[in-house]
Symmetry: D3
Subunit: 63 residues, 6 copies
């Protein structure tokens, strides 16, 4: 019964998030040999000012 | 000094969240025998497109 | 479909953790009006050296 | 720069975890169109007494 | 390769968050003797109604 | 009342973790202008087989 949390930069549309949920669930099922209905995926979007790499926000880095 | 994080589907009003905080804190205090002032509760709401069950988002599942 | 994560100091026995899972799930169901089978609870124990309060570990504080 | 956290029941060997990391990273790269080197995966194992489903631990449920 | 997640009450401006990212990354590098480019920081803001202290939300407490 | 969670590779001794808690708490207090007693820090250690970078575990990468 794996629970997956994914932090990613905000800005993707719902179709892309739907694909993310589907493909990550597949990967979990395949590698751990569990059934899809046991898998939960939580997507958490981060604004660019809320993610820091090497001490600088993604916003300031222009990513 | 328990710290509780609750992911739930977005859409509840503040009164319901207040009740959630109160009742979960009570449950923690009762079962772990700790004082209320040591308990912290964090609520994190998920948009329906951000929660996947069995590889499909709650949005697409119509939940 | 709430997912609850509880960080607590290590040292409780399994009976107490079982009670914690039962009572927190009850509190969630009651306050959010959801069914028990939709609730997941994850307990994460912290060694005393891994939890800091006011800049000092619980181990050093003697808690 | 996605960061993925996976909670799963303890008991898999390192080979399976290695496969999990590889396949989930692939799924992330494919669905989000990002490069593998930007992806981080954190595996967090749960003892059976630490995971609750419907108010009962996986240990007590015999899973 | 430390990954830091910071939950804080919403309401700070981007300049303050930038400073937070910079100073926490410095503290990590200094205390753990790692290089800045290996550090990731995620800021997660909480609305006042989403944070409970002693069973009451920060909103209701007027904080 | 910031809550900080730090994932890091296992293997540091308690003195280093104590320093980590102290210095990160200082950085939080300084950058956010909050008092130390409001800050909580949780350290979560990862075995090398549990952290993936670019699809490969830190264990396999020899880090």
């Amino acid at each position: 019964m794996p629970i997956v949390q994914i932090h990613l930069m905000e800005g993707r549309d719902d179709a892309k998030k739907e694909r993310l949920i589907a493909e990550v669930t597949d990967a979990i099922c395949h590698s751990l040999e569990v059934k899809p209905e046991t898998v939960r995926v939580i997507i958490q979007e981060m604004p660019k000012a809320h993610f820091g790499i090497g001490g600088v926000s993604a916003k300031k880095l222009g990513r």
